[in-house]
């Protein structure tokens, strides 16, 4: 009897010790599993990747990715709607565990947050007003061009506009939806977005048609986590490969974007 109680005490002490050690060195992965909630930052004005359905509930490719990740971790999920400019700050200030937000993996941003391998690939394309007469990028030179604040298209366009000396014609909006509204209303002649968004937008607005592809490179976008949480980023990388291997990536791409899902490879690079 004494032996049993002694063994019990020892094992409880050992367990407590283990637990405390465990929590001291717990990484983000442990934190999320312990708390039972995955907090995903998602941009919801980016159809079909992130949007609100007719019941005003979050939906889209990124939202389903969040759900899939939560399922893999066996935790609940929380969707935190973000503007483009908030995608990195929510990670830095730990308001979200992960951001699914078509975030381009620029070296500048990588100074602030950690990136996974690419989970979706886009290129920048313009939507233009039906009466704007814009056919090529060159046509956009003296037109009013809109983009969302804090996006790669904004920065790339401003570089080009600076070269042309037409920065004054640029309009920055809080959200991509406002960009589309601006083009539809005629406040702007062109709005720069991603290829995946062009189809739903042109279907939605009679006054908006597909514009030229923008003259900058392919947009490799990554899932974002805290820079220092390397184990968490490793897990996210594995999650991305599993989404592809299980066919889920192709399925969701087909459901929301349509057509064949692009292969997640960077030509000529091994990573």
């Amino acid at each position: 009897m004494r032996l049993i109680s002694k063994t019990l005490t020892t094992s409880i002490t050992a367990a407590a010790l283990l637990l405390s050690v465990g929590s001291a060195s717990a990484d983000k992965l442990d934190d999320v599993i312990d708390e039972g909630v995955l907090r995903c930052g998602v941009v919801l004005d980016f159809p079909p990747i992130g949007y609100r359905d007719s019941n005003n509930e979050p939906a889209g490719f990124d939202v389903d990715y969040c759900k899939d990740l939560a399922k893999a971790l066996d935790v609940k999920f929380e969707i935190l709607p973000l503007t483009w400019a908030e995608r990195l700050p929510v990670i830095v200030t730990n308001r979200a565990d992960v951001v699914f937000g078509a975030t381009s993996d620029s070296l500048e941003r990588a100074k602030t947050v950690g990136f996974t391998i690419p989970y979706a690939i886009y290129y920048a394309q313009a939507v233009v007003g039906a009466k704007s007469g814009i056919k090529t990028v060159e046509d956009m030179r003296n037109k009013k061009v809109a983009a969302a604040i804090g996006t790669v298209p904004e920065q790339e366009w401003l570089k080009l506009a600076k070269k042309w000396g037409v920065e004054g014609n640029y309009q920055g909006y809080q959200s991509e939806n406002e960009v589309f509204l601006a083009v539809a209303q005629g406040k702007a002649d062109a709005g720069i977005t991603t290829n995946t968004t062009v189809l739903p937008i042109t279907q939605q607005y009679d006054t908006v048609i597909a514009g030229p592809r923008m003259p900058w490179g392919t947009d490799y976008t990554s899932v974002v986590g805290k820079r220092t949480d390397v184990t968490w980023l490793n897990y996210l990388n594995l999650f991305i490969t599993h989404q592809v291997r299980s066919g889920r990536y192709a399925e969701l791409w087909g459901k929301y974007v349509g057509g064949e899902a692009p292969a997640l490879v960077i030509p000529g690079v091994l990573y």
Binding site: V113, G172, Y173, Q185, K187
Partner: protein, 219 residues
Amino acid sequence: MDYNFHWRPVFKALPDLLQAALLTLEVAAISMILGVLIGLGLSLIRIHMKGPVMWLASIWVELARNTPALLQLFFFGFGLGAFGIHFSPYLIVLMGLTFNNAGYLAENFRGGFGAVPDTQIRAARSLGMTAFQTYTRIVIPQVLRIVYYPMTNQMVWAVLMSSLGMLVGFRELSGETQFFASRTFRIFEYFAVTAVIYYIIVKIILGASRLLAMRLFRY
């Protein structure tokens, strides 16, 4: 605490922020001048006129005072845009602020006019002054004195309200701050510096207004 403050990029952007602060002051000041003129008109209409014109003036004043300023800005932006009427972000903010200032100032002026006794007006008219002269020489100087402090407050309010420009794409102080913050993702650092700039602007306005009052109201 798991956060490293980075102040260097903010100080590098400081000249641009100060430039944008001038734009803030400019739009606030112009909206104030227009607001005073329109506000005077609105209050006179509400005092002296009847019928549809008076109703329109009342609707202006009550809408300006009883709906959020941000909603008013949205109306001048995407709201008018729905009718195909487009203005630059600068004009959207200027019109929004003017609309709001005029509404609030009109109420202040109405109170001011009410405080000038009718006997003075009759006395002035009996001395042979025209109605216009009576207003510009007797009534309005007194009203301005009564509404001077509310007007100062409204100017401060206009500066603070212009920060909403960042939500309609206007690159005044807040918009410029947001623009920089969105590139370096250091939201806290940038907005902290901007808060200090606003504080200083407000103090300068209040100080200048006090000095001006000492000169204007010496008698």
